[in-house]
Structures are given as structure tokens and as C-alpha cells.
Amino acid sequence: MYDTPTVERTVENNTVKFAARDVHVFYGETEAIKGVDVDILDKTVTAFIGPSGCGKSTFLRCLNRMNDTIDICRVTGTITLEGADIYDKRIDPVQLRARVGMVFQKPNPFPKSIYDNVAYGPRIHGLARNKAELDEIVEKSLRRAALWQEAKDRLHEPGTGLSGGQQQRLCIARAVATAPEVLLMDEPCSALDPIATAQVEELIDELRQDYSVVIVTHSMQQAARVSQKTAFFHLGDLVEFGETSQIFTNPRDPRTESYITGRIG
């Protein structure tokens, strides 16, 4: 049924990275997330699926406190990263976001050169002691994002001059260069063609060796191909969370089944 047989994949790691308990998110008076409990494991790809407006992106943005930038947004409940509450007053969201990287739906390279785009994170976090180290980080990140071959001769040209798929891989390289522990991806392939999508998916699978990856996607095939765990959101509720193979072959909740078979959404 799908490109890659999902049943053969197993979750090898059981360390919990993020633990969310009874998370509610409000935009003004509207409740966008209605009490979500979820454990996100290390070295695992977790996919969030669900119809538009179901709150999956909102929940993703809670994990690195990007919702802080929206004035009317309010989060209750607890989310812990390796046991520490990320909404604690003593937590600096800037530090948190360095540990929890994010790739957005639309490629958003900075108006700088390709090199400076990738070097931005390491520079602001002081990850490189000298130019040689920075060069190394940039090269490594671009290689990880499968962009090195295309970009190595034009590192000092503007990143905005790349094609859409290359820009998105540049944004992934930029996120990887900061050496985060978790990588959040908000529909990273929605603006890409099938070839670029395949490259990014391959990349996500490789990133799993080092990071915990959380991906929001509208494509159920993509969720099935890249993830080991899947969470199905519907109208602000986390309806079902489990092994990807189980969700796609044997969903427990009738709503999940309807969505997967294309009856709601």
C-alpha cells in the first residue's frame, strides 16, 4: 500500500525527550488544543497528522515556545524536555530554541549568503572557536542536508537565489548547524516537488540517528514513510497516538480510521 513497508521498522529507543501533560492552548478565547498528553521519544521520528486546523502545528510550536511570539496565545499544562518544564519562568526561550530547532513550512532563508545562513546559528550560539571550525560545521551541515554538492561552489551567493527545494534543504542545514537535540518540522515538504520531497524524506530518516524529529504533515504517505510514531489530531484533541504501523494498519479510534481512509479531513 505504501512506498516503504512500515511494519518492518521498529522503534529502537525508548528515552523520552518531550513529555506533554494536559496541554491546553488558547488563542484569545478560542481553545485550539484541548488537553494533549504525549511522549516524544529520542532518536525517533514522530509524525503529527490530522485535518487542517486540528491544532497539530500549534502543538508543534508549543514545543519550542514559538507561540510566545503571538501576543494572544496562552499555554497551560506542562511540557518537559528531559524532565525540565520548558514553560518554567527560569527557562530562557532563546536557550530552549537552540536545543529544539525548527524548520518551517515555507523555505525562509535569510537575505544573506548560503554560508552565512548556515553559519548563523553557530555564530549566535558561539559554537565555533575559529573560522576553520565554522567552515567545518557549515560543510557538515550542508552535507547532512544533501546540499553540499550543489552549493559548495556558490557558498557566498545569496541563499535566496536557490530553488525552492534547495532553499528548504538550506533551512534544514541551518537548523542542523545549531546542533539541536530535537528538530521540529512544520510541513517541510508542502512547497516542494516530488524529487525534493524524496530528498528531504531521506534526510529525515538519516537525522533520526542523532535527533528526535517531530514532523507535521498533511501527507499520510509521508507520515507512513518517515515516522515510527504517529499522532492523529482532530479538532484540538489528540485522538490516537502509537506506532506508525499500528495507526495505519489497525487504528483503534473510528475517527482515525475515517481520516486515514479519506472519509474526514
Binding site: 514559538m66 524548520v103 535569510f110 545569496p158
Partner: protein, 457 residues
Amino acid sequence: MTSAAFLCLFALAILGYVWNRQAATAIRAGGARLHSLEGFHGFYALLTVLVPVLLVMLLWLVLQGQVVDSLLRSGIAGHLEGRSAGEVQLILAEIKSISRGMVFGTPEPWKIDAAERYLALTARAQTLLLVVVVVLSLVLVVLGRSKVSAEFRARHGVERIVSGLMIACSVVAIVVTLGIVASLLFETLRFFERVPVTEFLFGTNWEPQIPLREDQVAAEGAFGWIPVMLGTLVITVIALVVAVPVGLMTAIYLNEFAPRKFRAVAKPFLEILAGVPTVVYGFFAILVVAPAMRAFAASLGVDVSPNIALAAGSVMGIMLIPFISSFADDALSAVPQSLRDGALGLGATRAEMMLDVLFPAAIPGIVGGVLLAVSRAIGETMIVVMAAGLIAKMTINPLDSVTTVTVQIVTLLIGDTSFDNPKTLAAFALGMMLFVLTLMINVLALRIVRKYREAYD
């Protein structure tokens, strides 16, 4: 009479609209498929009547005066013989004022006759105009009606006429610009006939007070614009030193850091600042800022001039703050949210995001705003007329009194003037230089904006 002609024209144009529209509706009701909607048939008639007849009326009204004048003059040719052009003008003016019922003294009988003839001529011209307008409009209405058919492309016709009107409107701006340049240029050339170009451009002495009449006692006169330009430069630099940092900081704070409530209060205040008339800024400069600066300098034991350049410059800077801050605010707001998210998502602080990402992306808008502010500072007149000095000095000392190009233009053109005198003509030469200067700055601004836009989009 003229208003009657206008009324007739509009009535006939509307009649054409209704008539054509109804004709088109009738064709459609008959089962035919129209090329253009009924409305376009109507507008076609409206425009084909309105545009040409209005043009004719405009030409008529422009030419009517001259034609009537020449007819009037030929009627009294005997009385005008041997008189100079100026005298003829005076007599014609007198006749016209008699015709309006304003009689001074006892005019000769032939003048009263001429006045009556003038009235009759004007009345006849007006009647003729009305007739021409009505006939022409009727012909055009009928012509337009005869064109209505299912295949007639009324929409294309309307589009052509409207695009022609748009071209005409945009040509107005070009023509006016050329006219301004030409009027400046001719007077400037006349100035350079009397004063050598090299003396004007490179002279370091500006004393334009030369005698207007033979019997006046005044200085020899010197027309070197360098000290005047230096004054403008000093004031502009002071204004920018005040306005650019304050304006940019304001924009950055309001755009990114200010709480919503503060923004809601600060924005209207900036708009008020932008709306203050420059005369009021001038008061502020001479009544508040300059005395305060003098008092402060006196307390330090420094002797400064009463018309201190720093006062005029800094008040001009205050005037430019809202200008720069609103440009920078727009430029920063135009940076897409995705770039902000991208930077924050990498763990950048808001300050880092602002400096590394938003600011470079907003540079074209900001530079454009700053250069426009420079143009305004150079051309600003009222504040400096009130607060800067009148004497041109070769100095760049902001504590001294300086004068500016605009101040000199104003002082040269007020009071007794005669337009064949280098003193008056010098104002045009200064205006020309000002024009060239701001033009160059605007071109530079456009170039910078374009260059950076290419790199960042």
C-alpha cells in the same frame, strides 16, 4: 452662457448614454448576441461626446480672449496709432473695466463705445460657443447611435478612450516638470550672462546686496555660492545626526519591542509631529531651542552666535524624525514573518533577529527614507528662514551662524525686485543648484534601493 454650454453638453452626453444603452438592450432582446455589454455601448456614446466637445470648449475659452481683443483693437485702430505696446495694454484694460461698470473719472466717448462693443463681442462669442457645442454634441450623439450593432466593439472603443485619458493625465506631470526646469533654466542662463559661471560655482564670497537703481548706495556684490551651500550642508548634517539615529531607534522599538499599549500612544504622537507646520517648528527653534543652547553655552563660558546653526539644524532634525521612523517602520514591517520565525526558531534573541535579519532585509526601504529626508532637509525653508542667519560665512562650525540656499532665495526675492538684475536672477541660479542637488540625491536613493532589492528578494 458658458455654464449653459456645459449643461447642454452634459445633458446631451447623458442622452447619448441612455440612447445607446437602450438600443443595445433592444438588440439583445431581439435575440442577438452582443460583442460588448450594454453599459459599454452607453459609455462609448458618453465619452465620444464628452471628450472631443470638452476639448473644443477648452480651446475656445483659451482663444476667445485673444480673438475678441484683436477685434476690439481693429475697431479702435485709429485711436491706438502711434502708441507703445504698454499704452495699448493699459487702454484695453481700461475699456474692459468700463465694460464691467467700473468707471474712473470721465473716459473719452470712444472708450465707452469700445466698451459697449467689447460687451457685444463677448456676448456673441458666448452665443456662438453654445451653438457650436450643441450642434457638435448632437452630431456626435447621432454618430454614436448609428454605430450600435451586435458586432460593434464598444468595449474596445471605451478602453482606447480611457487609456488615452490616462496617458494625457500622466503627460501632465511630465510637462509640468519640464516647465519648471525650463523656467529655472532660462532665468539661470540670464544670470550667468551677467555673472560668470566659474565665479558662481567656485566663488567663496556671497554678498548679493547690489544697487537696484543707479542712485542707491550699496556694495559691489559677490556671487560665490560655496559659503551658502556650506551652510545648507552644515544644517543638513546636523538635522540628520539628530533624525537618523532617533528615527531608526524609534522605528525599531515600536516595531519589535514596544508593548502594544505604548505603541498605541506613541504612534499618534509621531503622526502629530509629522503634521506640525514648519512655521511652528521655526517658532520652537527661535523661542526655545536657540535661547536654551545660548544659555547652556554661556554657562560653559563659550560665546556662540545668536542664530546658532545647531538650533535650526536640530529642530529640522526633530521635524524629520517621524519621516524616517515611518519609512523604517514600514520597511521593517514589510519583512516577512517567516524570516522572524526562522531567526527566533534558531534560538536568536530578538536583538539578534533585528540586527542580523530584519535590518539587512529592510535596508533598501530605510536608505530610501533617509535619502528622501536629506532631500527634504536641503529644500526645507521655513525653519531656516526663521532660525538660521542671513550672512553667508565660510564655516562648518555648528556653533556659528550660517545661512542656507533656501534662505538666500527667499531674501533675494522679497522686497524690491527687478528681474533684469543679477541680485534677483541669482535666486534662480541657487534654485537650479538646489534642484540639481536634490535630483542627484533622489537618483542615488533609487539606485541604492534597486541594488539592495535585487540582492534580497
